[in-house]
Symmetry: C2
Subunit: 336 residues, 2 copies
Amino acid sequence: MIIDCHGHYTTAPAALQKFRDEQVAGLKGGVDIPLSKQPSISDDQIRDSLENAQLKLQRVRGTDLTIFSPRASAMAHHIGNETTSQRWTQACNDLIHRVCTLYPENFEGVCQLPQSPGAAPVNSAAELERCVEELGFIGCNLNPDPSGGHWTSPPLTDRHWYPLYEKMVELDVPAMVHVSSSCNPNFHATGAHYLNADTTAFMQFLTGDLFKDFPTLRFIIPHGGGAVPYHWGRYRGLAQDLKRPLLADYLLKNVFFDTCVYHLPGIELLLKVIPVDNIIFGSEMVGAVRGIDPETGHYFDDTKRYIDALPLSEADRRKVFEGNARKVFPRLMLGR
Amino acid sequence: MIIDCHGHYTTAPAALQKFRDEQVAGLKGGVDIPLSKQPSISDDQIRDSLENAQLKLQRVRGTDLTIFSPRASAMAHHIGNETTSQRWTQACNDLIHRVCTLYPENFEGVCQLPQSPGAAPVNSAAELERCVEELGFIGCNLNPDPSGGHWTSPPLTDRHWYPLYEKMVELDVPAMVHVSSSCNPNFHATGAHYLNADTTAFMQFLTGDLFKDFPTLRFIIPHGGGAVPYHWGRYRGLAQDLKRPLLADYLLKNVFFDTCVYHLPGIELLLKVIPVDNIIFGSEMVGAVRGIDPETGHYFDDTKRYIDALPLSEADRRKVFEGNARKVFPRLMLGR
């Protein structure tokens, strides 16, 4: 089985965005539109949104299961207040649940959290529990910067986040560290903010003692770990200068990287420097880059092709494509 | 000749930091200590600070000339106000000038700029001109985020920065895009903020039209370009999706990467994906990572070893070690 750990519902029916647009428009007049005002979405509309996109790409590329979450750039936790975020999050997660119910062979759910700038992370625990216990989701996306590019929250190693981590540990679900869109004009979302957040989170984990307090807490750093594998020597050296443990002995028991790196040399580097036990296949499809690479004639985000091109042992290939995902997402085991 | 384009005076005599400490302490009482209050530094103190550090490392590693600038993390443009920054900058630049005067064969100067949050970049033009015209410097370090991790300035492609670029073009000097220390607890300086700034600047250049307006403006993105080469497929794909020109046809006439990547696989990737004409040897020594890599027995930041290990043609090797630096820093040609 080939499990893609990083897929977003970027092709959701237009009615979802319509609800969001009305929600955002309502904020200007001080109105927070209730969930009951959502336009209805039929099962056929959901099928139509997937058949020619994610499902087709699964077939064409030869992958089996996508761990699927709401569109990351649309989480936009910086818009509105906590109520806004709770309602929008529930709408998005409920739709992911419908996808997983319609196509149980193809998708497993990962939830967005109702984060909001200044709100306590523990306030996201109830939605996480609802998604895992009631909807059968297997993980969450955690935004280290709900302010959308202003970075006003404490680092992920701060006790500020601990009550949410307690819930993650209790439910035995990992988080992908994933920012959303940026309202800071310095940061292009998919070209800077995403990668910066990946790099930032890793360095926070390196300098903090989080995994002493939560030895079973697990994070996936997406987009191939941001800048981290390319600068693996810098991180090994910084850990040494800072008298931190060896990365392989400490961080790599809890931190994993996906393979959303859109060219062969990048994936080669990733597999060369990061232990294979810490690499989980992902494509981010349908996502950040949608075109065909004129240098190869294939989609940039068809990351399976890059892994297929590497001289990995069959055992290592199975870890990247399936085994590591099952280890990091143990709830995925329950149903399959 | 082997030219290291990225060295900082991280070993400056303690009197420099003493002046800075007094300056910062004075700010609390509303006093901005004048430059005349600097403790004196003797030529011998300068020699002592270099002989067993940068100069020794040049000899041991077999490099000839370092393009040398004040300690980047100490620029700290976010501390105090514009006057604070002007005085501190002048003190730092004057000391670099003394280094270059004492060791003209070993160092060429690059200046810090007296940036300050909210201050117009054009206010740095006079110090740039002083350093280039009077002190013989050949470039500058430009901080895209004088706020120190809060990213409150407009992107580098905004007209906000244009008057300073006009001075750079007039003087024919490049800038290294280099942030300083971070006062945002999310960002470790050398482990996150530096690399994020590199990535961010590149994406700003990719999305903007800066080089149409300034076809001869040149930037070096340090630390091997942050996350960019590792994600070169993503950037090629984003440029295509955004209907931007091919990176090789547009950005790469104006943007260059140094080789401050502290392991062989990273340097291999850099040379594999980025055209050799855009790569300039640099080590950041004595800098971000100071230890010896237990996996190789050599200093992490001895980046020359990694390049030496690659099967480059002699012509390409000369470009990386010398030719590209001479092209990007034309004032270096004048004196040598």
